[in-house]
């Protein structure tokens, strides 16, 4: 998402992930870019891993939040003008820096001259994105739920603890770097034939399935093991106990994880480009339109953004509805 936002800026500013995207495009003409590309990817992956370890250590050793208390300033900050100002500023920030700019696209599209616009390619790319996100979500559930069950039920085991940390890696590593690494891996082997679609799906699975694992593992840990044990004492085989007791209880968490994975896949730009430069998912298409730097390009991109925003918003509402129901 960061990559998408910075790339959409027509200027020449580049973050690590956008650089990977650009160079990957360049790779077609200029093979010399391969080495620096790999280097940037490795750098990003290593940096995120170091960050992950540092954060883990800090949380474990330094005890954040800190144990010390300051009675006087804390009292001052707990009532009167301070909390009100804090709440006000928080809301103002949300509106001014997040909501207005995000939805500004609507006014933009309305205000400029309508350019001739061909919905075809965008709809194609949107369909492609939905297809990828759908397949990815199904694979995520199939892979993520069993792993989540393993992690949640073997809490005392060393392996489960390690897995629990490792599962987070794809969430921490910048997706463009991850995507590039995955692309190199899958195209480098000759056992499984690689198609572009397959590569994109594999890349998306890698960074979305931790969302399912996180959600489901959290939910399973909340469920009292006595439920399944009771079912067993009543004569249910383990599979039946899962299906009729545990599954109905954690169903909404699986769904919530699936929706998060789906929207994440739908919005991903960097990794998609890093895996397959020519891929055309909806967000990639929008970036391409902007890079045209023509009036009709901007206009079409604007309309396309509105569609994506609406789709994401609908999913967000669905997620809210599901998670609210879960808490009752």
């Amino acid at each position: 998402m960061i990559a998408l936002a910075t790339m959409a800026d027509p200027g020449s500013f580049a973050t690590g992930p956008t650089l990977i995207g650009d160079w990957k495009h360049g790779l077609v003409d200029n093979a010399d870019l391969a080495a620096p590309l790999a280097f940037v990817s490795i750098l990003l992956i290593l940096l995120s891993l170091v960050l992950l370890v540092v954060i883990k250590l800090v949380i474990m050793k330094v005890h954040l939040p800190m144990g010390r208390i300051w009675p006087r300033p804390e009292k001052l900050f707990s009532r009167g003008w301070f909390p009100k100002t804090k709440d006000g500023l928080a809301v103002l920030f949300l509106v001014l820096f997040v909501l207005i700019p995000s939805f500004f696209i609507f006014t933009y599209v309305v205000s400029v001259e309508p350019a001739s616009f061909d919905w075809g390619p965008f709809m194609e790319s949107l369909m492609f994105s939905f297809l990828v996100a759908g397949v990815v979500t199904v694979i995520d559930i199939a892979l993520g739920v069993p792993l989540a069950l393993y992690i949640a039920k073997n809490r005392t085991g060393r392996l489960s603890e390690v897995l629990d940390v490792l599962v987070n890696v794809p969430l921490i590593v910048p997706t463009a770097a991850l995507g590039y690494s995955l692309g190199v891996f899958w195209t480098g082997q000759n056992i499984i034939p690689t198609y572009d679609v397959l590569l994109i799906i594999l890349a998306h699975v890698a960074f979305t399935y931790p969302l399912v694992v996180r959600n489901v593992a959290g939910a399973v840990e909340e469920v009292d093991p006595a439920f399944e044990e009771t079912a067993r004492t009543l004569g249910a085989k383990p599979v039946q106990a899962f299906r009729r007791v545990l599954y109905p209880i954690i169903k909404s968490s699986i769904l919530a994880g699936a929706i998060m994975a789906f929207t994440r896949s739908l919005g991903e730009t960097g990794a998609t480009q890093a895996v397959v430069a020519s891929a055309r998912t909806a967000p990639v298409y929008i970036v391409e339109l902007i890079q045209l730097k023509t009036a009709s390009g901007y206009y079409t991109a604007g309309l396309a953004c509105i569609v994506l925003i609406i789709v994401s918003f609908v999913f967000m509402l669905a997620l809210r509805y599901i998670t609210n129901r879960r808490s009752h």
Binding site: D224, F227, E229, T230, R232, T233, L234, G235, R244
Partner: protein, 361 residues
């Protein structure tokens, strides 16, 4: 016919021993309570019988069959959990018919069986409700009906009443025993509440630190406990240290550390031996001679007063009085106390001291 036999049963977690070498036979239709303080291994023991935990030593036999390696669902047991664990997404009736359904009985039988057991716990009118809509006592009754609906003749109860309000707890105890006896069940009931154990059991198994301390009927364990730990854990008691001064006509005279003399109808400790006397508060009374003590507290208990007095060497003695004569009993007053020689029990003084012997772990 269901008989449960435990042979050398044990469970170790690394170097920690949770249950150590337990031998126990529970007869058909017997109601046995496993009683003990928290952490004594009683829950581990019942979970091993159910197959939820695999033992590291020994075997469980149900109906003469070795249960080693037999999964929970094939042991044919009814199990009630402390935390009730009703399936939150199923109605009361669906909870109760879970067992028959898991065993793939025809739908008519599922309905008939669930209704029968809900009627037995008098909750037929709540059968369409979700567990959340019931109060704690009702929930536990549903959970009991669910356990019974499996048709098993072996009922395992893991602290079934601990999560309930005290009033409900007392009502449900009798309900449990009534149902178990009516249905002819073999019942193993785990609890840390000695009053509960005494009121429901045919036999109590008292555990401490993973081992069985003593087994007996509620009356035996209360009136003639074989160990100091039992005397102290079941009911209330005064433990007084002393030595045997003389034995005459079937009565031992014990000289207490606090200087007082007490007679006990028990003569198996020779003259000069160090002993501990256990005597319950209801068998200590005011007298003209005996132990001298100063009253330190008077507590109204409803049908009697519980009086606490300190002897000269700061040993605390509790005794009960049906009346409260303020000329005789006020705080700070000096009194003489005697014990009923028939109700006191003698033990050899433990090497590591009395405190060590009554420690819960």
């Amino acid at each position: 016919m269901v008989e449960v036999k435990l042979v050398g049963l044990g469970k170790r977690y690394g170097s920690v021993v949770a249950v150590n070498n337990v031998d126990l036979t529970v007869a058909d239709r017997e109601y046995v309570t496993i009683l003990g303080p928290s952490g004594c291994g009683k829950t581990t023991l019942i979970r091993m019988i159910a197959g939820i935990i695999e033992p590291t030593d020994g075997e469980v036999y149900i109906d003469g069959k070795d249960m080693s390696g037999v999964p929970i669902e094939d042991r044919d047991i009814g199990y009630v959990f402390q935390n009730i664990a009703l399936f939150p997404h199923l109605t009361v009736q669906d909870n109760v018919s879970y067992g028959p359904r898991a065993r793939d009985l025809p739908p008519e039988d599922q309905a008939r069986i669930s209704k029968r057991f809900l009627e037995m716990v008098k909750l037929l009118d709540k059968m369409g409700m979700l567990p959340d809509e019931l109060c704690g006592g009702e929930q536990q009754k549903v959970s009991l009906a669910r356990a019974l609906s499996s048709g098993s003749k072996l009922l395992l109860l893991d602290e079934p009443l601990s999560a309930l309000d005290s009033r409900v707890r007392v009502d449900l105890r009798y309900e449990l025993r009534r149902l178990a006896k009516e249905l002819g069940l073999t019942t193993i009931h785990v609890t840390h509440d000695q009053e509960e154990a005494q009121s429901v059991s045919d036999r109590i198994v008292l555990m401490r630190a993973g081992t069985v301390v003593e087994t007996g009927t509620p009356e035996e364990l209360y009136t003639r406990p074989k160990r100091i730990f039992t005397a102290n854990f079941i009911g209330e008691t005064n433990l007084l240290e002393g030595w045997v001064l003389e034995i005459k006509d079937g009565v031992s005279v014990i000289e207490l550390r606090n200087g007082g003399k007490v007679k006990v109808n028990q003569t198996d400790h020779p003259v000069g031996d160090a002993v501990v006397i256990s005597v319950r508060p209801e068998f200590v009374f005011l007298a003209d001679e005996g132990m001298r003590a100063t009253v330190t507290a008077i507590t109204y208990m409803g049908t009697y007063w519980r009086i606490t007095a300190n002897t000269e060497d700061e040993e605390e003695v509790a005794f009960d009085s049906a009346t409260l004569d303020e000329n005789l009993l006020t705080i700070g007053k000096e009194v003489y106390l005697a014990v009923n020689p028939k109700a006191a029990v003698l033990y050899p003084r433990p090497q590591d001291g009395v405190q060590e012997a009554i420690m819960l772990e």
